[in-house]
Subunit: 453 residues, 2 copies
């Protein structure tokens, strides 16, 4: 029932473009959703996109642009003069999308487009929005909203909505303000439809929906909208005047992006990349963490180098070097990821940090005990060297304890210093745990071999 982009459809479009069949292309795309047209652009050449794009009607060309990825949008906009962008695109966009789009362009191009806009009020809204940080409620909000006065009755309100509705694409609540523009609450469209027409707005006002300030972080906005199941959230200034609203579709994007960012950090990728990106971009996104891993490996080789003498006599000590490193890494990533997810979900209270670390210690103790016992039994059956058997089990136990507590501690500490805790996950924790694991293992080994042989 939803549109699916097939090879056949793409072929047909390409043929129509090659034949310069403008009417054919227009007809073919008429009933296709802007999101799907954006997907088509991803599959055709830049010239083909520009040609097809020029045939879309104004409303659609604005919507298609909103649906495109930043890079693709930028490259398409480069081919268009400022006054065309202003009249054909920006004029048909909601203020938040327009501000996002302008924010991606050079300051010169921004000025050119803003000056070409006929609607000065719209230009003013966009300039206002451009001042907010994109990771805050101000950066997410749109200025278009339906606001009514709490003193009005429903009839007055519906008249006003008819007047204001032209400006606003879609809305689910009517926002209520007092005479000073201070936000008082909401009225759902359902209530407007089912209440008597002489009812005063203040009597059917719903005060349950919270408002956020422009400087609220987008992560907190997402958490609030999710917690209270909101489709739209009002944004106010310091004294509570209504400035704009944030809709759930923008927040769904925030949630996905946050999750993707954390995922890429834990997998050691430093930039937002997709399989479709260029080889160069993909390489660059992966190299930084790999260099950290390499440096860690070199440091590890220096640690092992200290024990060259022992290794010459007891080469079996080398057998378990990778095991100790890998286990330290795995345990560390497990611990840090649980903390990172807990912080993201707002569960981890900073005051309970010591308690959390103690709990992690207990978990690690149980895991360590079990795994050391397993490897102890294995080595008792297989190895001739009791010194090695004792070394591996003691070291594994210590490494699991250390890696676990360290893996929990680092993201909590980062969070306390207002640094993204997810930075702690991935190759960083793994690499440090590797080196410390080697040090513990070889240190214990020297001790054990000293005692038992």
């Amino acid at each position: 029932m939803t549109f699916e982009l097939t090879r056949k459809f793409l072929e047909e479009i390409k043929e129509l473009v090659a034949a310069n069949d403008e009417a054919g292309i227009f007809n073919k795309l008429e009933d296709i959703h802007p999101a799907d047209i954006a997907a088509i652009f991803r599959e055709v050449s830049k010239d083909e996109s520009l040609y097809i794009y020029s045939l879309l009607d104004e409303e659609k060309s604005a919507d298609v642009l909103t649906e495109m990825d930043e890079d693709e949008r930028k490259s398409l906009l480069e081919g268009l003069p400022g006054h065309v962008i202003a009249s054909k695109i920006i004029d048909n966009m909601e203020s938040d999308d327009a501000a996002d789009l302008l924010g991606e362009l050079s300051e010169e191009k921004q000025a050119e487009i803003l000056q070409s806009l006929d609607d000065v009020e719209q230009a003013g809204d966009i300039v206002d929005l451009l001042t907010y940080d994109e990771d805050t409620a101000g950066g997410l909000m749109a200025k278009e909203l339906i606001a009514v006065n709490e003193e009005w009755d429903i009839e007055h309100c519906v008249r006003e909505i008819r007047k204001q509705a032209e400006e606003v694409d879609e809305f689910y609540y009517v926002w209520v303000v007092d005479n000073d523009e201070i936000f008082k609450g909401t009225v759902s469209l359902k209530k407007l439809l089912i209440s008597r027409s002489n009812t005063k707005i203040k009597n059917i006002l719903d005060t349950e929906i919270p408002a956020v300030r422009t400087d609220t972080s987008s992560e907190e906005v997402a958490n609030i909208m999710k917690k209270y199941d909101l489709v739209s959230l009002p944004v106010v200034d310091t004294i509570g005047r209504l400035l704009g609203r944030i809709t759930i579709d923008d927040v769904v994007d925030v949630i996905r992006e946050e999750a993707e960012k954390d995922y890429q950090l834990i997998s050691g990728i430093t930039e937002d990349v997709e399989p479709t990106d260029s080889v160069f971009l993909l390489t660059r996104a992966r190299l930084p963490w790999l260099i950290i891993g390499l440096v860690g490996g070199i440091l590890g080789s220096r640690v092992i180098g200290i024990y060259e003498g022992e290794l010459k006599i007891y080469p079996e000590m080398a057998f378990f070097l990778p095991l100790i490193g890998a286990m330290g890494g795995n345990v560390g990533v497990q611990s840090s990821s649980i903390v990172v997810q807990g912080i993201a979900a707002g569960i981890i209270d900073l005051q309970s940090m010591m308690k959390k670390l103690f709990k992690d210690f207990k978990v690690a103790f149980l895991n360590g005990l079990f795994l050391s016992a397993l490897i102890f039994i294995y080595n008792m059956l297989i190895s001739d060297s009791f010194a090695l058997t004792l070394t591996v089990s003691t070291a594994l136990f210590s490494v699991i304890l250390f890696a676990s507590v360290f893996g929990s501690f680092v993201p909590m500490a980062l969070h306390r210093f207002k640094i993204d805790p997810a930075l702690a996950t991935g190759p960083f924790i793994t690499t440090i745990n590797d080196i410390i694991g080697l040090t513990i293992y070889l240190g214990i080994g020297r001790l054990m071999y000293g005692v038992f042989i």
Copy 2:
């Protein structure tokens, strides 16, 4: 502006409970959102929760339960008889929440509650919903919706909405059907408010919103709602009759859960755990992957054991064992995570698998070349052994190539066989890459030392 749960507030609640001050508790919680009350329950004892819960009014007690985590909800419901759950809770819930709640209970308790429901139509709706898999559109949808006939005019439509609206909590669209109940499209509340009252519904009908079938996966539902920026999505049966609707707040939960699941898999955690879970649960969630890591480490020790003779003569070969293992692991996780994210975003087309693998090969080639060159320079400066220098660089290059292609291949192969590709990430890929890395490194080492010494 939003409620924040403070220690002071908790103390006060606990004091009121200790003093049996029912009116005091009721007043204190009256203006607090159900989601925040659910958060309070997380902080007090089970007896305290049950006591507070018994004081909430019916509407609120249903909403609070919807906001709670599954475990907490279960434990609270255990303390309540079936007829109380039916009349006080289920009766005030939307059908999707009611079905979710019943789905968590034993079949006996389900039957007891369903038989106690006064509203047979509601009981029927719930029974219908219970038949759907919870990971499908059927499992996500609610039966409550406002449906109107395409032949009606707006006046008729508003009358009908007033009648139906009692049943439905909140709604943003009116769904339009024909005489056979076949879904035809939507009318937004905005259009209803601003159009003339004698306009026929079929003339203001919006056909852009797609419908999904009950067996559409919840992941696809999330992708469709995100792509088309929908707040509500209609669900139809095989012949297109309207059965229910899915709202965005349920889908936000799906998106979060999907992301969390992938994140836990890549960090080697096998169950959905939170920092607040018990030590036992946290230990159990972490142990399975650690055991795989341990078995991998033991296999690695067997591989190294084969080269015991060489290690006795050239102990410096052991220096770089952890480096090779770690780099193979890092590269493998990077590759697999890019593929997993690409599949989740719907970017990776299965037919282009070979192309993708070839691209990954090129990325790995560049990364490998750069990193091997780095370690080559390092070893030329530091190490006395040219055989070792050559071994480390050649092995690192080969391991990066292998780990990268292998890391891309496994999730793509799993996806092709309809297995969750995210299963490939985390300790699984890392462990296999570790072992294969060791084999490559030591094999090349034997060769090099054979040639150069």
